[in-house]
Symmetry: C2
Subunit: 204 residues, 2 copies
Amino acid sequence: MQERAVRTREVLLRAAAEVFGEVGYPGASIAKIIDRAGVTTGAAYFHFRSKEGLARAVIREQAADLDFPEGEAGLQRLLDLTLYLAREMRRNTLLRAGVRLAVEQSEAGLQEYSIYQWWAERFEQELEEARERGELLPEADAAVFASTLVAAFTGAQIMSQLASGRADLPGRIANLWRCLLPGLAPADVIDRLEITVDGGADTR
Amino acid sequence: MQERAVRTREVLLRAAAEVFGEVGYPGASIAKIIDRAGVTTGAAYFHFRSKEGLARAVIREQAADLDFPEGEAGLQRLLDLTLYLAREMRRNTLLRAGVRLAVEQSEAGLQEYSIYQWWAERFEQELEEARERGELLPEADAAVFASTLVAAFTGAQIMSQLASGRADLPGRIANLWRCLLPGLAPADVIDRLEITVDGGADTR
């Protein structure tokens, strides 16, 4: 795509995230999104033919504005990544809208499972790197833990949104790790990990 | 309430669960629910003034048609309970609609957190009974595990619905337990537990 076309698509994707985030899938319309984006209808339809197509893009590209934490591979980086995601759920419009649509998609009949798989594979890869560093218990199944981590994060963010407008999400993710770590890593590895919940109260 | 009024409310609640389960919150109307229930409008409005009121009742009373597994208190019973819930998600209309509305309620602005608390307290109570029987590790925090269990179940059922129409949900819940048990109970207690996934393929 030409540079201008790439830019138009980006503007549309972010406008869609804003509108879906504000009014949800049923309340949104492609006209409202095009209006928010400030692009021509012709330019918009070159990229997206329908509200459904825009919603799929927001779900699939929910991670596009993330700036993943760097640092050495291993359990600490995965832990930091999930706590970073918990904080980003409060301020990253594309992530928040993508997660909301992924959770509420039965309204729209989108059947978009691939983003959940994408996150599970991302987490599994981090766990396999942790294993190479000798940080995992031999019996810990990285794929099973990765899938459970995605499920628990998904549920925790729904509960946190209702309970506190997501203010307590970092604390909930920290608690989730306290439950999962004993099955994942030996005690001496767990003792070296830091679970830092800045910007969010620790909570049950 | 008189017996007939109690019966009318039950018929309305189940009709609401059917309609919300079929078309979701935005697609449902109180007229459609009254029509499905086959009651008079006057009788219906005696119990519920709005679609919102019906949705709240379906969320809060989602467990009303469950027949909780009996047996001795303890970890095995909690495990059996969650696997029973996983199977019921496929056939219990009230549970399925209540869970769906609880997950997708941001559309409706219901802010119904109480049902998540109710389940967390239910699970915590089972864990405390397990503790009294000496089944828990001393350092295991029952409230933290109970809340994580609710979050992980909530996320797992969303993922399972997308991946398999909930066919693989019992397998996902079994995997969740494999992740949580090492932080919850000593190895000899875990060894005695049975994780029975009947009616659903084991899965990652």
